[in-house]
Symmetry: C2
């Protein structure tokens, strides 16, 4: 078997770069007699790996009876042997939680029925739902440990380290989802240890604050010991409340990390070596895994799941530009974690018969992910089959409208799988490619994580900064000649790219210092739409004002009809946030209220660099917005990447750094579109009057 490895740029197989192309293939569903044929079909479509859950529900039907026999629907060993024979790597996902459209989310019924004490609860002790377990509850861990041990015993001989196919192991599944989707963080008192000096919560606070006095000062509380501290649901209306909320979220995510690390340690104890992975349930949840990534250390792969529709309640039926922006955000965050952007669940179908998963949509989805940085993929599911009797919660035949149907026949969508697989094979150099960018969007984990729960007292809070980033800047830049990348504000900033920082009123001191030093050394900055005056703990911290040399700002109450920018004209769809009332003499005004003349955008030199203040926010609506951003970025020395005359066609340019370039043109709409494209980066190329079919993603090697 080939040896799988990965770094921030991509995957390698025995050291040779390649895409990880995996298909979810449930040995507990797919009829055994058809395994070989379906594996061959997957390999023909360019696949090199298979993934499967290993459902506790099925392997421990009664407590204490753990069956990894060769019985029908439980023959994990047979499956792994055949994978070895077929030279397919394997990703195993033993849960404990898995969902997979199984009853009890894949947990044993005896566990759910007999041990209600293990359920996650809200602050009042009310459980969320039967299946939402409290990850670190000792009784749950005791039961799960036994299952993990049995699993390890079976799997050990098949590990890559033993010459077997198993190249990746996954801890649990879409962590935090079963809590956050149904209520919020888990407050199970036993798990969190409320009331105990050595409880998890007390320990977290002690480590963070050192003294109870410091804790009380930050939280506005009057505890006499750390053990006494008891959290409640917080509305974030005051800085105290916002700190208490943030601390609880941070604490909760640290318990998620602890849980992942514990599961990994069990694997190690039981002799399972090699890389471990986890899948964030969707791109916007990636920041929840900051503690997990830190704690899991080397050889850990965080990926995310990238569905566009699972039933008619989803916002979109097909992959749209809004979907693409979410994917871009997600992939860039994975890159910032030092991971090769990996989609651990890419739609292979849907559990719902409607909206249908159509082959054009599916191929567009895959190609969009690739254009936006994908390096590895696992299709969920590649193929299904009959559920173990009584274990399916959506149907007894788990067809999933997948590439290969439950009955073994080829779905139309197999064509999309095949076409994408062939594309990856034919352009293997893309496996180490990078996305070309003209500009960096700066963010920090804490900022982006708190998007939906920052403090309302901030000068610009309430999640607005996150929307401005995704639906404002990222969207507008994707409609411009200047492709955006994302970068962590707490790491070294690329001096070659102008840096846009959409902020709430809070930004960590480390980030503020880093930005200041970036500009000092020659960096070009756009700060928008406020000057942060608090750090991420909501303590006063205003290190960025000096960039603007004594400019006097005020919160603007204006309704802007338009901004007016010299050389551009009117810019529509901008909302006034911060006006500059007085400017230092070296400031250059870049945009004013088109009617009243108040200054909203200006720049000034600072150190060897330049700082632009941009006091407006916006959602992408009018093409005057990207035109303005292009002009602004040009003044800051940004180099264009690729420009589509029809701004509703997103572009992306992948490069290998040695002269190879692939241009992607994305028509993520249901109607035909035409455009002409000028590629600037890496040598000018003009592509004139090109037509794109509905949902067509054209890839053109230049």
């Amino acid at each position: 078997m080939k040896r799988l490895a990965f770094d921030e740029r991509g995957f390698t197989f025995d050291g040779k770069p390649g895409f990880l192309v995996s298909g979810e293939f449930h040995y507990f569903r797919v009829p055994e007699e058809d395994w070989a044929r379906r594996m061959d079909l997957f390999k023909e479509a360019g696949g090199n790996a298979l993934a499967t859950y290993v459902p506790w529900l099925i392997h421990e039907p009664e407590e204490g009876t753990i069956l990894f026999d060769r019985g029908e629907k439980r023959d994990l060993q047979g499956f792994l042997e055949l994978c070895r024979e077929k030279e397919l790597l394997v990703l195993l996902r033993p849960g404990p939680y898995q969902y997979s459209e199984l009853v009890n989310d894949g947990l044993p019924t005896w566990l759910i029925r007999n041990y209600p004490v293990i359920r996650a609860t809200d602050p009042a002790g009310k459980p969320f739902r039967d299946e939402s377990v409290s990850y670190l509850h000792p009784l749950f861990l005791e039961k799960a440990r036994k299952y993990y041990k049995a699993f390890a015993g079976v799997v050990r001989p098949y590990m890559a380290s033993n010459g077997g196919p198993v190249a990746l192991l996954q801890t649990d599944n879409e962590l935090s989802g079963i809590h956050m989707w149904f209520s919020g963080p888990d407050y199970n008192p036993e798990t969190m240890g409320f009331g105990k000096e050595d409880g998890r919560y007390a320990s977290f606070l002690r480590e963070k604050y050192g003294t109870v006095k410091a804790l009380n000062a930050a939280h506005g509380t009057a505890w006499t010991s750390f053990g006494e501290a008891k959290p409640e649901r917080e509305d974030g209306a005051s800085f105290f409340s916002a700190r208490r909320r943030k601390d609880y979220y941070d604490f909760y995510f640290s318990t998620v990390a602890e849980y992942s690390a514990l599961l990994a340690s069990w694997m190690r104890e039981d002799g399972l070596t090699g890389p471990i992975c986890h899948n964030s349930a969707n791109p916007r949840e990636n920041p929840r895994f900051r503690e997990t990534v830190e704690r899991m250390g080397k050889d850990f792969l965080l990926g995310s799941d990238h569905y566009y529709n699972l039933d008619a309640t989803w916002a979109q039926n097909s992959p749209t530009p809004q979907y693409a922006l979410k994917i871009l955000l997600g992939n860039e965050m994975l890159r910032a974690f030092g991971m090769p952007p990996t989609v651990l669940e890419m739609p292979g179908g849907s559990p719902s018969d409607t909206p249908p998963i159509l082959k054009e949509d599916l191929l567009a989805c895959y190609m969009t992910n690739l254009a936006l940085g994908l390096k590895g993929v696992n299709y969920y599911v590649y193929t299904g089959g009959p559920n173990y009797p009584g274990t399916g919660n959506t149907a007894d035949i788990y067809d999933y409208n997948a590439h290969i149907r439950a009955d073994g026949s080829k779905n139309e969508t197999y064509g999309a799988l095949f076409a994408f697989g062939r594309f990856l094979t034919e352009h293997a150099w893309l496996a180490r490619s990078r996305r070309a960018a003209s500009v960096n969007i700066g963010f920090e984990w804490e900022g982006i994580r708190s998007i939906d729960c920052d403090c309302e007292k901030l000068s610009y809070g309430g999640g607005k900064a996150g929307k401005l980033l995704e639906r404002g800047w990222l969207y507008a830049l994707m409609c411009s000649a200047c492709a955006p990348a994302m970068t962590l504000l707490t790491e070294e900033l690329d001096p070659e790219l102008p840096l846009v920082v959409p902020v709430s009123g809070a930004l960590s001191e480390a980030a503020q210092k880093n930005i200041l030093s970036f500009v000092e050394k020659g960096g070009k900055l756009i700060l928008t739409p406020v000057i942060p005056d608090r750090d991420q703990e909501f303590r006063p911290a205003d290190l960025l004002s000096p960039l603007f040399g004594g400019a006097v700002f005020k919160k603007s109450g204006k309704t802007l009809r338009a901004l007016f920018a010299e050389g551009v004209g009117c810019v529509y769809g901008m909302n006034a946030v911060t006006e500059a009332e007085a400017l230092p003499p070296d400031a250059e005004v870049l945009a004013r209220d088109a009617d009243g003349g108040a200054v909203f955008v200006f720049r000034r030199p600072f150190g060897k660099g330049q700082a632009v203040f941009f006091g407006a926010d916006f959602m992408m609506t009018s093409f005057t917005q990207p035109v303005f951003l292009e002009s602004l970025l040009a003044r800051l020395g940004a180099k264009k990447t690729a420009f589509s005359e029809n701004r509703n066609i997103f572009t992306s340019l992948l490069e290998d750094g040695e002269g190879r370039r692939m241009l992607f043109l994305m028509n993520l709409y249901s109607g035909r579109q035409r455009t002409s494209v000028r590629v600037t980066r890496g040598g000018e190329v003009l592509i004139e009057d090109i037509e794109l079919e509905p949902m067509e993603i054209k890839a053109i090697e230049l």
Copy 2:
């Protein structure tokens, strides 16, 4: 000029049936020198009318200076004269409110600035926003009256009654929107007259309750007079609170009706005769106009606005099945009002440059509306032009990406307009056609209006009944061989069609009586998912239990993996709501819990008819759902309409009652789809293996 008339079946022109095909054409934007050419282009595309706002903002720039001069951008008369010459009917929309992407929503700046007292407020007296006026505020009415008089003076000679082109006048615009979108109903104390015995609110309560004692008994209050009664925001957590909330909403909508009637009376006083119309902002808001329709009486046309996307924050970028369901719901409600389904704003473009309005999507949108009952349309906007300086809030050039661009050039989407117009012309018989249906979905205005604000104490409340209707039954029936129509439960029920009644725990006594008598006389009923035990005033009222002859019901706590129905098999995606614990001897079980055996669906004879109780709810996910509904409806004698083998292709059949039939096949997805269709209604026709392009609506005359 031809004389426009309408009834529930459609429009007539000098007595001859035809579609109303109007285009929004702003004389205050389109350059005068290009009016004639653009009118000709509209006529070439099948148009027979134009519509325009008459913006107060532009015609009364300073208080007291009302200008209907022949000045540039204000030449309403010139526009009307040219319409007469071109034989285009005109729909005039003088506001006062209009929006139309104008600053202040089209209200004069002096009005907004100088009279803040006219703003709508919340119960605490906080205004919603500057432009959200309180419709019946005396000061606002005083100002508006003068504008209306001036408007009438100009328009009178051009009215149809005087041989002119003006065939329709609209009162205000998207009424209730400027309140409900930003806060909720208006509580302006001056307008509503709180604290006054002869105030509007006191009068409403007096008329409804007669005595203060009765009011207090219903509201759980202790007022000593009607004048004393003061409303607050209500959460509906108790029946008292829910009644107070419902009464306030009913009262508020009655003030909306009063306002419309008042504007109409001004028109009459000033000599403007002929039909008057109003546009509900979207299909789901149609029920808000029950009081308006009643109050406006004859010669009133209620239409609704049917956008599918106005910017990237909308759920869908193109017309989808979810959009089609909303349209079906909306059109059926208009029919129930006795109106010809008229789309008073059908997208002609969008104020946002992204997502783009593409010609395929646009044609699919028009054809879908037609397939689902449309009889009249006004494109918003057919064409635009430069805004009066400083009056546009999205751009200075109001291009709107419309059929004819601001600069006069043809947009690609003109092709969609032209194709649809030609289709209507070539199939003029459709103007009096009816949509064939196999089954009726029963509703009542109060029920559907309270969908999002019924009482949580109801056995099935919290808006669930509305979702079950739209995303459950309507969706599943559109995926079945049995097309749904909708019918008011308080009017005569068609004995030929089985009647499905998705209810919350509340249903008016009148509706309950009507249903009972319908079944007694031979009707076939499906009641789901509870037996209502309250009337719409939340008073005990259980008239429907007798239908089920002593069956004992209980609220079900089950998680259903599936229902099992004889002859159908497992039905997935159903949620347990009500189980039957004991059945009368004459009951026939139709579906049980597939695992536990509890009864969820059964039928029994009652009078000359049959009653089915269906104790589960569902969102459309699995095609086993429509299969089950088909089988159930077949048992109740429903006759199939048209069946698409690919259930993701919606069908609709229009008939003229004299043998002409037009079948519509709708592919509202971005990928190609194939299907075969069997039409049963009106003579069997089989259409085999037909392919539909992305967003293609095929119309086949049979």
